[in-house]
């Protein structure tokens, strides 16, 4: 059981669907949206399994476009 829970907020219009955050995530939380695209036509990233997120911010660090905002909370 993880001691920390996290959440990732995606700026979907800024996302270019490069997939680097998906690769960087140690908990397999993120995925490129299989159907939806943004106004530029990119499959943006979304939280596939939000419960697994530990808020490590690895995704945010490697995101070249600064689309990701990461929150982290300690749970009892």
């Amino acid at each position: 059981m993880a001691k920390f829970r996290g959440a990732v907020v995606v700026n979907t219009e800024r996302c270019k669907g490069c997939n680097l955050c998906v690769v960087a995530c140690p908990s397999d939380v993120l995925e490129l949206h299989p159907r939806e695209v943004n106004n530029k036509g990119y499959h943006y990233v979304y939280m596939k399994s939000p419960d697994a997120c530990i808020g490590c911010a690895s995704c945010g660090l490697v995101c070249p476009d600064g689309c990701l905002t990461v929150y982290k909370m300690k749970i009892e």
Binding site: A7, P50, G55, P64, V70, Y71
Partner: protein, 254 residues
């Protein structure tokens, strides 16, 4: 559950405040974006938002001035270190850096780069080395690896015809004017954290009048290499790192 977590007090990572909302023109997965973010973070951490002047190059990063809200100048191709020299000498209290690619720094601007570093100008040179001319369509650069295929050497770089790749970082490290020469990368979270520390050190050196600091980023060009961003990162680890090993090439402590 998400609504409980998404609160300002739980924020651990966001887009740097110095970075504006303009959509970056870089290809998806380009290393330039991460390096821009690191520069914006380091400048904000040092509280030098109003005191920093960047010099943008010709190349993919030509529009760098559109994305980070500091003062910028745009140099002629390869002449960023010469322009930065002038800016720093006229404004010694400003923090001055150049942001250059390998076509700009290691090809057309080799003379300016080497002489600025040899004079020990108190500037930071940020050198993004992706071994290819990205903006113009993936031509061979001086830093292209032996055997690497580009649009102007489609059968791979041949030493007999095209010569050897240029390790400009190692050349600059031999000069007495440089105080800090390091080679970093940004392909994963650990590397990004390390690179940020190196950048911070380089900027601090320039304000401490120690001499020229050079931060080389071994980076990818997924469009020019014709790979997906993750394949490009893997290719970089397998092929670029053996030839351009990461780490400090020179670190003068005094």
């Amino acid at each position: 559950m998400e609504n409980e977590i998404i609160k300002p007090e739980n924020l651990v990572y966001e887009k740097p405040k110095l970075m504006n909302d303009n959509a970056m023109h870089y290809c998806p997965g380009c290393s330039h974006g991460v390096i821009h973010k690191l520069i914006a973070e380091v400048i904000a951490d040092m509280g030098m938002e109003e005191e920093t002047i960047g010099v943008s190059p010709v190349g993919c990063a030509v529009f760098a001035y559109n994305y980070i809200d500091i003062d910028w100048e745009e140099a002629a191709h390869g002449r960023a270190p010469a322009l930065a020299t002038a800016i720093k000498r006229l404004n010694p209290n400003k923090m001055v850096f150049t942001y250059q690619g390998d076509g700009d720094l290691a090809a057309i601007g080799t003379a300016e780069t080497i002489h600025a570093a040899n004079r020990g100008e108190n500037i930071v040179i940020i050198f993004v080395n992706n071994a290819i001319y990205g903006m113009t369509g993936g031509q061979m650069a001086p830093t292209t690896l032996i055997g690497m295929k580009t649009s102007t050497c489609p059968y791979g770089r041949d030493v007999a015809l095209n010569g050897f790749p240029l390790k400009i970082g190692n050349i600059l490290a031999q000069l007495d004017g440089t105080c800090y020469v390091t080679r970093q990368s940004v392909q994963n979270a650990a590397a990004v954290r390390k690179a940020k520390k190196a950048l911070r050190k380089a900027f601090e050196n320039s304000m401490a009048q120690k001499g020229t600091s050079v931060v080389e980023f071994v980076s990818t060009c997924s469009s020019g290499w014709k790979m997906s961003p993750e394949q490009a990162n893997q290719w970089m680890e397998e092929n670029m790192f053996p030839f351009y090993p990461l780490g400090d090439l020179k670190n003068v402590e005094s």
